[in-house]
């Protein structure tokens, strides 16, 4: 019955989540629709196959021993499985990155966007802060 082997799914990052310059004490939010700033990644695999998408989200960015609070909302994810993904007006919007997201891969793969918010302290030490979001994609078999 399950005779044909699936095309392996792949996930690749198209755009990092970039907050740019942050000023002490002034929160900054990157919307999932912010082209070039929001995180964007791309999933390929068997067209029509259902996949689960799980995020491991950092709650802080780090610079040496310093950290800075990072917030992801329950509506911070959008996706598009169409042939021409539209980040500014995604057909599937306001998904929760804290929960498993289940969707089907389209003919042109599946593009996903993620925004977030940074909350620097008033005395946040200057410098380059970094963190990693880990995303895991797996077939469900459906």
């Amino acid at each position: 019955m399950l005779a044909s082997a699936p095309g392996a799914q792949t996930v690749s990052t198209t755009n990092d989540l970039q907050f740019g310059n942050i000023y002490p004490g002034i929160p900054k939010e990157i919307l999932k629709t912010d082209v070039g700033s929001a995180a964007e990644f791309y999933i390929t695999g068997t067209e029509g196959a259902e996949v689960t998408i799980d995020f491991t989200l950092p709650t802080y960015m780090n610079l040496g021993g310093f950290n800075m609070q990072l917030i992801f909302y329950e509506t911070s994810v959008a996706l598009d499985s169409s042939a021409t993904p539209d980040q500014t007006n995604p057909p599937v919007d306001d998904l929760d990155p804290w929960q498993t997201i289940t969707y089907r891969i389209g003919s042109n793969g599946l593009t996903i966007w993620l925004g977030g918010k940074l909350v620097p302290r008033l005395v946040q030490p200057p410098g380059d802060y970094n963190a990693d979001i880990v995303v895991n994609v797996a077939y469900t078999g459906n």
């Binding site: 799914q9 990052t13 900054k28 030490p125 990693d132 880990v134 078999g141």
Partner: protein
């Protein structure tokens, strides 16, 4: 009996022509790391400007520094880019920013800061080399 025959026919049909969505087996997940980046900066000065409907995209510009002073003169008006002045906004504006000792190069960053009930466009002057 009818149900058994129907079920058998369905199984045969699926075996002959499996649908892609039904034949994908669960597989080990594929992971990727997405970097998150930010730079915390302490500005030398912040100049509020009226950008009207313009959306400047130039973030750096040359600076004209008076030789006898550590003062930075910013002329904010519409026009060209990449000259010795920062040029923004529909109307002429100027402002002076005092540089710290040893700062020779600065960068101007245009940003929109949202505060409760309002949003403010600012030009922030950041030391680059010192």
């Amino acid at each position: 009996m009818t149900r058994s025959v129907s079920t058998f026919c369905l199984l045969v049909a699926l075996a002959i022509c499996p649908e892609p969505g039904l034949t994908v087996q669960p597989a080990a997940g594929e992971s990727a790391a997405i970097p998150v980046t930010a730079e915390v900066v302490y500005p030398l000065g912040v100049v509020a400007v009226d950008l009207a409907d313009q959306k400047p995209s130039v973030l750096t510009g040359g600076i004209q520094q008076k030789p006898s002073e550590r003062h930075l003169e910013l002329l904010l008006y519409p026009g060209k880019v990449g000259e010795s002045r920062l040029q923004l906004g529909p109307a002429g504006r100027s402002s002076t920013v005092v540089l710290r000792s040893g700062v020779t190069t600065v960068k101007a960053v245009i940003d929109t800061i949202t505060v409760p009930g309002d949003s403010l466009t600012v030009v922030t002057i950041i030391p680059v080399s010192q």
